[in-house]
């Protein structure tokens, strides 16, 4: 609840950590100026981000100017939009006018400044939102940890010696820390869902092709998705609805009409066939991650376990495609300046540059097969549940973990449960669960293609039941 603007520190904190919907309502009704909300967020960021390192760029002047312009428009009686005055920040692979799009790298800092904002940034601002900055990320998005040798690690606001997860590390951290109510990230194999899970936020990876990728730096164009983070399901739906729509600047963006989700968000789950994903999604993780899924399933009255066919193979195919396409994208940079990459990324890219073409083609054909099998599965089930990560947030710098008795490197294996599903572009909401006073876990709520509304309805139900929540971290 946002009080009328006052000068008390408590009121400032309320403004900074309010949900997007609350901010928009307060600004639209002139209870609070947009500028006051922006200032409250900037103060909170200045006070606390040194310990979190979520931001790489803070566009304070731009934000203040934008907020002031909004307030003037409202004073003239103009409609400021459904996200009026809502501060937001974006992973630094999104173009921000006037800044080089760094995509978590050292090399990209030398790019010419972007001439205009990325498509989704423009759409959020057209709805009244206020961009406050660019967010930390894993180099070139080839990361699940949130560590970055150039910009420093992004720290988990719930426990700063632990990973935030990646590659949308700053996005998850900024939301969990209450720096902004909305953030944007990207997800190729799990890069929205992993930081959502590890930081304890809601995150939406929409259907592949649903949201325009125009004006963002790519990673794997076969698999890249963009999507929002928030501390409430309603805020996710609000942002998602505003961002939908075709885009001539993105050939991969669907021409399907926008399908708003906000209006059906409170419809509940009656009649929905909800099941737990079995097989691959029930092994290779800590017992507590499966317990979290079971807790969610019980709350939804779901008891069936459905095997997802060949999920491990799907993950493997996504792994091969990612390695090959990522390497191809960075070919010139690898040839001319390999020493300027994060060594962990560099070595993966060099390996990827040697993959035989037949392996990649086979993986893309398997993708067609898997897509059809999942289409058949979704005739029996409306929504699936699966863990988002195999464990809670590891420590920053942790190199290995032991799952099911097998010691594995952390970095490529955090995405074991996310990768098979983004492979075929299913829409997924990551919901945060706090099993105890410790770090959170995430559960993936998985819907058929183009049915973000179902995933959001289920997530909203879990939020109303108190099973899923995204409180602001104590900083």
């Amino acid at each position: 609840m946002i009080p009328a603007a006052t000068t008390s520190p408590g009121a400032a904190t309320d403004l900074a950590t309010a949900h997007a919907g609350e901010v928009a309502e307060a600004v639209r009704t002139r209870r609070v100026p947009a500028l006051a909300v922006t200032e409250a967020c900037l103060v909170r960021i200045a006070r606390h981000d040194g310990a979190i390192n979520a931001f790489t760029d803070i566009t304070a002047e731009r934000a203040r100017a934008r907020a002031a312009a909004l307030d003037a428009a409202i004073a003239r009686g103009e409609d400021p939009g459904p996200l009026a005055g809502v501060p937001f920040a974006v992973k630094n692979l999104f173009d921000i006018a006037g800044l080089p799009t760094r995509a978590g790298s050292k090399i990209n800092r030398e790019r010419a400044p972007a001439l205009r904002d990325g498509a989704l940034v423009r759409r959020l601002e057209a709805a009244g939102a206020v961009l406050v900055g660019g967010l930390n990320m894993g180099e070139y998005a080839y990361d699940f940890t949130g560590e970055n040798v150039h910009d420093g690690p992004c720290r988990n606001p719930r426990a700063p010696d632990h990973m935030s997860g990646g590659s949308s590390s700053g996005s998850g951290a900024a939301i969990a820390a209450g720096f902004v109510p909305l953030a944007l990230g990207s997800d190729t194999n799990g890069s929205i869902r992993v930081p959502s899970a590890l930081c304890g936020t809601f995150g939406l990876k929409p259907t592949f092709g649903r949201l325009s990728r125009a004006g963002s730096f790519p990673f794997v164009t076969s698999l890249d998705h963009l999507g929002p983070f928030a501390r409430s399901v309603r805020d996710l739906a609000l942002a998602y609805d505003v961002m939908q729509g075709g885009d001539a600047d993105d050939p991969a963006c669907t021409q399907r009409p926008a399908e708003p989700t906000l209006a059906t968000l409170e419809e509940g789950i009656d009649g929905l066939r909800i099941a737990v994903a079995g097989g691959h999604f029930r092994r290779g993780g800590e017992a507590e991650v499966f317990a979290a899924v079971d807790q969610v399933a019980r709350a939804l009255g779901a008891s069936d376990i459905v095997d997802v066919p060949e999920a491990a193979r799907a993950r493997a195919a996504a792994y091969v495609i990612t390695a090959a396409e990522g390497a191809a994208l960075h070919r010139e940079r690898l040839l001319t300046r390999p020493q300027d990459f994060d060594p962990a990324v560099r070595d993966r890219l060099i390996a990827g540059s040697t993959i035989p073409a037949g392996w990649v083609i086979r993986a893309q054909r398997f993708r067609s097969w898997f897509r059809e099998r999942m289409r058949a599965l979704f005739t029996e089930v409306d929504v699936l549940l699966a863990p988002a990560t195999p464990c809670r947030a590891p420590l920053i710098g942790q190199q290995t973990f032991t799952l099911d008795g097998v010691t594995l490197p952390v970095r490529p294996n955090i995405g074991v449960f996310t990768q098979p599903l983004s492979f075929i572009g299913l829409p997924i909401v990551a919901v945060p669960v706090f099993p105890d006073d410790g770090l959170p876990l995430g559960v993936q709520v998985i819907a058929p293609p183009w049915r973000e509304d179902l995933a959001l309805r289920v997530a909203r139900r879990l939020e109303r039941l108190g099973v899923a929540s995204a409180p602001v971290a104590a900083l």
Binding site: S222, A248, P251, G284, E310, A312, R313, R315, A316, A317, Y319, V320, A323, R331, L334, L335, P338, P343, A344, R346, D347, R348, I350, A351, G352, S353, T354, I355, P356, W359, I361, R362, A363, Q364, R365, F366, R367, S368, W369, R371, T400, V406, T407, L408, P409, P412, N413, V416
Partner: protein, 81 residues
């Protein structure tokens, strides 16, 4: 210790792709990088080889799965948008 865990059940009756030995992958890497002109410092070699081993293991899973000839690659090209 594998770089990434990849495992799935073998398919009865389908040809099994041999798991490339380390020296085979090393030779592939060396030849590919010579072809492309990609520099690889000696200190990077072990890391690159480890990643290639994980990629090869993943590829083996995919190659070992039978697919009918009619199954096309997922991305479909359109001559005009």
């Amino acid at each position: 210790m594998s770089e990434a865990s990849h495992e799935a059940d073998p398919i009865p009756g389908h040809a099994v792709t041999p798991t490339p030995a380390g020296e085979v992958l090393a030779a592939l890497i060396d030849a590919s990088l010579a072809l492309s002109g990609q520099r690889m410092d000696h200190a990077w070699r072990e890391g690159v080889l480890a990643h290639m081993s994980a990629i090869a293991a993943a590829a083996k899973l995919v190659l070992d799965f039978p697919l009918d000839d009619e199954i096309e690659q997922a991305p479909v090209y359109e001559a005009a948008p």
